[in-house]
């Protein structure tokens, strides 16, 4: 990231929209502009208060066409979308009203994303050369799962410090439903961190779960937290050495928390001899603390302390795990149980009886309802009508 060199002395800033875009509903614009400021107040103690009329404010926002009084004329559709002043020059933000500003649409130019970028300048941030950063200069199209890159967070916190008046001092907002997970609860993988948090990977995004659903502030980009980890991960687990292993295709990565632990990726055949490539799921089974890999109809047991780590009588058939279907998408340990996930359903395994647990409602249950807090999903057993 790059800092221009000036910042506001106060963290409580005011703004007003003196001139609105011609093609959007004013209330909608007010909301999107507030959301754009929230991007920065979410990571610092900055607050942004909207003023109206002729009140003096820190940041004045205007939608203008062509020459608009600052010697930097806009250039019509495309090209320059907007510009902003750094704090030392006043902090104002101007948007080219010749653009087709849109909200939550793949068409036109997304108002929220461009505004959040411009307000970065109004706060003292220059352009970043990290392509995935909000403060990169080029417009990248509408991103329904927009999240700040770590680069942006480091930049704004270098100027205004971390967030201390955080939610921790107030009750956490209720666990939230995530529209994407509620609509399609099939995931790439789930794993528990060494702190016992449950993380869900799907595509290029990840969610942290709470006991009741999805933690607020998610999804985030996998790459913004686990640098150099690709999207569409096959499987992951955290071993009792506190290290988390991620698997994709023929390769695997090892991290301690979110820091890569050595030179990765490596080949699965090197680090997990006897385990195949392109696995479906992996977990440390709560029944014996060994590592289990699942692929198609088969499973392998990997014991780092054994020679060889995978006995010759593996693979065996997943149907040995009575009641567990195959193939599975994910497996995770949570509060002493091992859970298996297939499509929109999940199963809790009873380690002593070595079969799917008896429970009411019986398994399979809806992953969306019980793991992602989707109240609209079925609470009962999936696959039959009661």
């Amino acid at each position: 990231y790059a800092l221009q060199g000036s910042r506001w002395r106060t963290k409580n800033l005011t703004y007003k929209i003196s001139k609105y875009p011609t093609g959007l509903n004013k209330q909608e614009v007010d909301k999107e502009i507030a959301n754009a400021f929230n991007v920065w107040s979410g990571e610092t103690d900055l607050t942004f208060t909207r003023k109206k009329g002729h009140e003096n404010v820190h940041i004045e926002i205007r939608f203008e066409v062509g020459e608009h009084g600052d010697g930097d004329p806009f250039d019509g559709p495309g090209g320059t979308l907007a510009h902003a002043y750094f704090p030392v020059y006043g902090g104002d933000a101007h948007f080219d009203d010749a653009e087709r500003w849109t909200i939550r649409s793949y068409r036109g130019t997304n108002l929220f994303q461009v505004a959040a970028h411009e307000f970065g300048h109004s706060l003292g941030l220059s352009h970043s050369d990290v392509k995935s950063a909000l403060m990169a200069p080029f417009y990248r199209g509408y991103d329904p799962h927009f999240t700040l890159d770590q680069d942006d967070i480091s930049a704004i916190q270098a100027l205004y410090g971390t967030k201390t008046n955080s939610r921790r001092s107030q009750p956490l907002p209720p666990a939230e439903e995530d529209p994407e997970l509620c609509k399609d609860p099939k995931v790439d993988t789930m794993f528990d961190t060494k702190d016992g948090e449950i993380i869900v990977f799907k595509g290029k995004y990840y969610w942290k779960l709470t006991d009741n659903g999805v933690a607020s502030g998610y999804p985030r980009r996998i790459s913004s937290t686990w640098k150099e980890l690709p999207a569409n991960i096959d499987a992951a687990f955290t071993y009792r050495n506190g290290k988390t292993y991620f698997f994709k295709g023929t390769q695997y990565w090892r991290y301690i928390n979110t820091t890569m632990d050595g030179d990765y990726p490596k080949e699965i055949s090197d680090g997990f001899t006897g385990i195949p490539d392109n696995i479906d799921a992996a977990t440390v089974w709560t029944g014996n603390g060994k590592i289990y890999f699942y692929k198609g109809t088969k499973f392998w047991r990997f014991d780092p302390a054994s020679k060889p780590p995978v006995r010759s009588n593996y693979p065996k058939l997943i149907q040995n795990w009575e009641g567990i279907p195959n193939p599975i998408n994910a497996a995770v340990t949570y509060k002493g149980y091992t859970y298996f996930f297939q499509d929109n359903a999940y199963y809790r395994f009873n380690d002593r009886q070595f079969k799917v647990d008896d429970a009411n409602p019986a398994f399979p249950r809806s992953t969306a309802y019980w793991w992602f807090g989707c109240k609209s999903a079925s609470r009962g057993t999936l696959g039959n009508d009661h």
Partner: protein, 87 residues
């Protein structure tokens, strides 16, 4: 959408690079005297910042990126090229 095959002249490129801080502001009178070396160096700096192959040439990917919608604030901001001064 990122425009497809984009042809961009040296002059247009020079104006772009000046607008975003890679070249000193071009004075219409003496704009024509921009040396080849300066232009090449500015293109290299832009390519480095944008994560493109650093060739110093106005190749296709560079031209395409120059045609991509973007923020009007300079990329090179510092005491010299001080971004934007409110008039």
């Amino acid at each position: 959408a990122v425009p497809t095959n984009v042809v961009i002249s040296d002059t247009t490129a020079a104006n772009y690079l000046a607008q975003y801080g890679y070249l000193p502001p071009i004075n219409p009178e003496n704009g024509a005297f921009l040396s080849e070396e300066k232009l090449t160096a500015a293109i290299e700096e832009f390519q480095a910042f944008a994560g493109l192959n650093i060739t110093g040439e106005l190749n296709d990917e560079t031209a395409k990126l120059m045609a991509t919608p973007r923020c009007g604030v300079k990329d090179k901001v510092g005491p010299a090229a001080d971004g934007r001064s409110k008039r």
